[in-house]
């Protein structure tokens, strides 16, 4: 019997190398060597959107779409969206912008409430916060009509579409565009990235969402794991180049990959 399942040796090696580099950078961060993250333009866009909302006296919507906390592929962008929410809610509290965060999942609702509550407390503006109206639980399905209806009645001036987005990306961004809202969109769901990029005024593509979350949260663990992930990217780029060369010179690498 084989020790490793056939065709998965390369996967295992890649997993060990990338996980090892993430753990290495995390250990380095604990000893005080935190990797520096580049400031993304989206940070200024958040302020710009909230500033616009204050000037116009209209609210900003922070939408996260699917926030299922038990699916790994959804948890990653959802965590990033919460990290960005913490900063955005704090800036909204500071600037005095009206803010609305609808959430479609129980656990995510609890976290979002806590994040917004903490943000207003940090700015010493908890008196201005009506938590039940700011963070609202809406059942998945019913949320579409509620949000669309309120987008129009509130005449929202700004919107954030961050997290794991699926078909609702088109519905909400199109309505927001018609209302005339300024939008920041970002998702890692590949089939919906084009919609957010095309419709939103500013967008975050794929893992830029994680980078923005890490930058804004100032969490050394997240910054360190981003640095570790970069090693994975270098390996991927190297393998792509190597694979292209080997195939071009006529070598059959299929057998190598199915080891």
């Amino acid at each position: 019997m084989a020790i490793i399942v056939e065709g998965r040796i390369f996967g295992l090696i890649a997993l060990l190398v990338i996980t090892g580099s993430i753990v290495y950078y995390m250990q380095k961060a604990y000893s005080g060597k935190i990797p520096k993250l580049r400031r993304l333009q989206a940070v200024d866009v958040i302020d710009e959107i909230l500033g616009r909302c204050v000037e116009m006296g209209r609210p900003a919507y922070y939408l996260m779409d699917t926030v299922s906390m038990d699916t790994p592929s959804i948890l990653a962008p959802t965590v990033a969206a919460f990290q960005i929410l913490a900063y955005t809610a704090r800036r909204a509290a500071h600037l005095g912008s009206k803010f609305f965060v609808p959430v479609t999942q129980g656990l995510a609702y609890t976290i979002a409430s806590e994040v917004v509550d903490e943000a207003y407390k940090a700015e010493n503006k908890q008196d201005e916060l009506k938590l039940e109206e700011t963070v609202m639980y809406l059942p998945d399905g019913a949320d579409r009509m509620y949000i669309i209806n309120h987008m129009w009645s509130d005449e929202m001036a700004g919107a954030f579409f961050l997290g794991s987005w699926y078909h609702k990306a088109v519905i909400f961004t199109e309505n927001a565009a018609r209302v005339g809202a300024m939008m920041l969109g970002g998702t890692d769901t590949t089939h919906n990235i084009p919609f957010l990029v095309a419709i939103c005024d500013y967008s975050l593509i794929g893992e830029e969402l994680y980078a923005l979350g890490a930058y804004l949260s100032e969490d050394p663990t997240v910054s360190a794991s981003l640095a570790g992930q970069d090693i994975g990217k270098y390996i991927a780029a190297l393998l792509i180049i190597l694979g292209s060369i080997l195939i071009t010179i006529g070598m059959d690498i299929k057998g190598l990959l199915s080891m």
């Binding site: 990338i18 995390m26 038990d70 990653a76 965590v79 999942q105 199109e174 990235i193 794991s225």
Partner: protein, 216 residues
């Protein structure tokens, strides 16, 4: 047992053990008993995630209850919610296979969901109109590529303009495919990073716990 141990340490240790078990099962041949244990553990996910729904439903019911109690704006819609919730949940609790309960699901919940989903078709059309305008060089390239791919996908397009088939196939499999793979690699690495943070207890959002760790 201390509160921290039950609320944080035990769930983190359990998450790490079960997660590592799943990874081991993927890479190494395992005895049948171990594989069936992993299958059972995976079925727990469905049960536990259903429990999270209770919290959300409770919050929503309290919100609407308060709205009716204080007669705030549009409170009458809240009565509809409460009535629908009581009837549906009541029938479901009595007998989930009951025909009335199934009738509500098949003839009300399901069509409403489908109708809401179908909204996408209308918005995608107007979104396409908004996007596909040649405002600059970038959007002009997007417009041309989108036209070629659309023509390729509709049956009449290939008959009217046969070259759109090879060009469209090339656009989808080479430039578009390469771009998407880059995104998928980035996203997958992000998920790996999250996995490491979850297993080492540095990320606790999945437990409903949020901690701020800002650098000094």
């Amino acid at each position: 047992m201390s509160d921290r141990l039950t609320k944080m340490q035990i769930p983190i240790i359990l998450t790490a053990i079960i997660g590592i078990l799943m990874i081991i099962e993927f890479f190494f041949p395992m005895p049948t008993a171990m594989t069936s244990l992993n299958v059972t553990l995976r079925s727990f996910v469905t049960i536990i995630s259903a429990a999270a729904l209770i919290l959300g439903t409770l919050v929503l019911t309290i919100y609407h209850g308060k709205k009716v109690g204080t007669k705030s704006s549009e409170w009458y819609y809240s009565i509809i919610y409460i009535a629908a919730f009581v009837i549906t949940a009541g029938l479901g609790v009595i007998n989930v296979r009951d025909t009335t309960f199934l009738w509500i699901y098949n003839n009300m919940t399901s069509p409403i969901g489908a109708a809401l989903y179908s909204l996408t078709a209308f918005y995608i059309t107007s979104a396409a109109y908004r996007v596909l305008r040649a405002r600059n060089w970038n959007s002009a390239v997007l417009l041309v590529c989108a036209l070629i791919v659309l023509l390729m996908l509709i049956p009449v397009g290939a008959i009217l303009f046969p070259p759109v088939v090879p060009i469209g196939t090339w656009i989808r499999s080479i430039p578009s495919g390469a771009g998407f793979r880059g995104m998928i690699i980035g996203t997958s690495l992000g998920i790996m990073g999250l996995g490491v943070r979850v297993f080492t207890g540095r990320q606790k959002e999945h437990l409903g716990i949020r901690e701020e760790r800002r650098k000094e």
